[in-house]
Assembly symmetry: C2
DNA sequence: GCCTGTCTGTGCATTAGCGCACAGAACTCG
DNA sequence: CGAGTTCTGTGCGCTAATGCACAGACAGGC
C-alpha cells in the first residue's frame, strides 16, 4: 500500500494503529474506478470489500419494478462497501455504483474475514462501522417517510460534497431525481429555488454548491443524527 | 429451553441442526413481553439479542425531530433483534418496541458472540440473517421514496399478519399512521378504501384482515423482493 | 346507566409533488 | 461550423397527501 497524502486515504483504515494496518496492507490492493462503474450487481456474489479513498463516492441502489433505481446510502472515504455487515460471500441484494470516480483500496473477503478473526482491532473496527451503516439506513428509511423533497435534496448535496471534499457534483438532474425516486421536473424546480437563494449554481450535467451551510439549513437534520452516531461509535466521520 | 409447538418457536433458531441448537440452548432464556414494551432505548447499551417466538412482533423506530417515531423494519419469528449486525455491546441507534406481545428467547450478547466464534453454524446463520436484514432496510428506503401510502399500508398489514400468523392487528389508526410517518386522517381514508373493497374490517383500536391476497394486490411488491432474498439466503422466511 | 375520554370517519381548504409537453441552451461529433 | 442530441427550465392540469375541525361511536369506570 502506497504512502499517500492523508486526505487521499480511507478514514476507516486510518483508524487502525500502524501495526494493525500493516496486517491488512499486504492483502490490500489499489484499484481505480470511474464514475458509473458497478461494484456489485444484484444476485452476483460479493468477493471484495472496497474502501473508497480521496473524493471517490459510491451508493447502493435498489432497482424497483417501476424501472427506477433508488439510492439508499452514500458511502465515501469514511466507510467501505461489500461484506461489511454480512461477512460471507453472499449474493448482493443491492446494486452498487460509483458516483464519483477515484482510487479504492480493496481486499478479498476471504482475507478480510480471516483478519477480522485473527486481529481483534480489525474485527472491532468493522463491527463498529457496521453499526454506523445501520444508523445510516435506519435514518434514511425514516427520512424518506417524512421529509420533503427539498429537505432530502439539500441533505444529499451536503453529504455528497462533505464526503468528496469538493463542492461540485457531476450528475444530470435526471440522474439526481431518479436516485431520489422523485420526478425530474420537480427536482429541477427545487434546484431552481436553491439557485435563486444563492446556495448553488447549476450547469449542464452538474451542480456546484456555493453555500454549504446555507444548504444545510434547508436540509432535514438526518445527516446530523447519523454523524452523531459515527462520532459516538467511531470518533467521527473522518 | 422448552420443547414447544413448532409454531411457537423462532424460525431462525429452528434452522440450526439439533446439536448446534443445543449449544445455544443453555445460554437462552425465555422472557415474556407485552405489547408496548421497549427492548432498546436509543443511546443505551445493547446486551441481549432477542428471538421473537409465536405471534410476537417488534419494530425498530427512529425518533424524528418532528416528534414522531417512524418505523423502519418489522421483525417477527423469522428473525432476531439486537447485536445481529454489529456484534459488540454498542449504544442502540433506534428504539425497539414490541408491537404484539408474546414469548421471546434471549441470549446475552457476550454468549452469542462467543458462540458465533466457536460454532461455525451459529456464526454462519447470524451472518446470513444479517444480510437479510440489510435487504429489508434497503428495500424500505426505496419503498418509502417511491410508493404511495396505500401501497405501503397494504404492504405493512400483509407483512404483519404473515409474521403473526393471525389476521388481526391491535393498534389505533393514530399509531399506525405515526409509525408510517403519515397523517392520521389520510391513513384512516386509506383504511376506509380497503374496507369498502372488503379487504379488511376496522374496529376501535384494531384492524382485522379479511382478504390477505386481495390486500397483497394493493401493496407494492417490496415484501416479495425481501422474501425472495430470505429464500435465496436462508431458505425462506419460516 | 350515565359520564368521560379516546378513537374513528369525514368535510374542507391547502400544499406537495407528478407527468407531460415544449422551447431554448449547451454540449458532441463530423 | 452546422446538425443532431441531450439536458434544463418552466407552464399547466391533476392527484396524493396534509392539517384542522368536528360529530358520532365506542369503551371503561363508577
Amino acid at each position: 500500500m502506497d504512502v499517500m497524502a492523508l486526505n487521499n486515504d480511507n478514514a476507516l483504515l486510518e483508524r487502525l494503529e500502524a501495526h494493525d494496518r500493516d496486517a491488512l496492507s499486504s492483502a490490500l490492493e489499489e484499484v481505480r474506478f470511474e464514475s458509473g462503474a458497478v461494484l456489485y450487481e444484484p444476485g452476483t456474489n460479493i468477493d471484495y470489500c472496497y474502501f473508497p479513498t480521496g473524493s471517490a463516492i459510491c451508493s447502493y441502489f435498489v432497482e424497483m419494478d417501476e424501472g427506477v433505481a433508488v439510492e439508499t446510502i452514500l458511502i465515501g472515504r469514511e466507510g467501505a462497501l461489500g461484506g461489511v455487515v454480512s461477512h460471507g460471500n453472499l449474493p448482493a441484494f443491492a446494486r452498487s455504483n460509483v458516483l464519483h470516480g477515484g482510487l479504492f483500496q480493496r481486499i478479498a473477503l476471504r482475507d478480510l474475514d480471516r483478519l477480522k478473526r485473527d486481529n481483534p482491532a480489525v474485527g472491532h473496527l468493522m463491527n463498529r462501522y457496521s453499526d454506523c451503516v445501520m444508523a445510516q439506513v435506519f435514518q434514511s428509511i425514516a427520512c424518506n417517510a417524512v421529509h420533503t423533497i427539498e429537505q432530502r435534496a439539500a441533505k444529499w448535496l451536503v453529504a455528497a460534497v462533505a464526503r468528496m471534499g469538493r463542492p461540485s457534483v457531476t450528475m444530470t438532474q435526471e440522474q439526481l431525481a431518479s436516485m431520489m425516486g422523485v420526478g425530474r421536473s420537480y427536482a429541477s424546480r427545487v434546484l431552481q429555488r436553491f439557485k435563486r437563494d444563492g446556495l448553488l449554481r447549476t450547469r449542464r450535467g452538474g451542480i456546484e454548491v456555493l453555500d454549504r451551510d446555507g444548504l444545510a439549513k434547508r436540509a432535514c437534520s438526518c445527516n446530523d443524527h447519523v454523524d452523531a452516531h459515527f462520532e459516538r461509535v467511531l470518533g467521527g466521520l473522518y
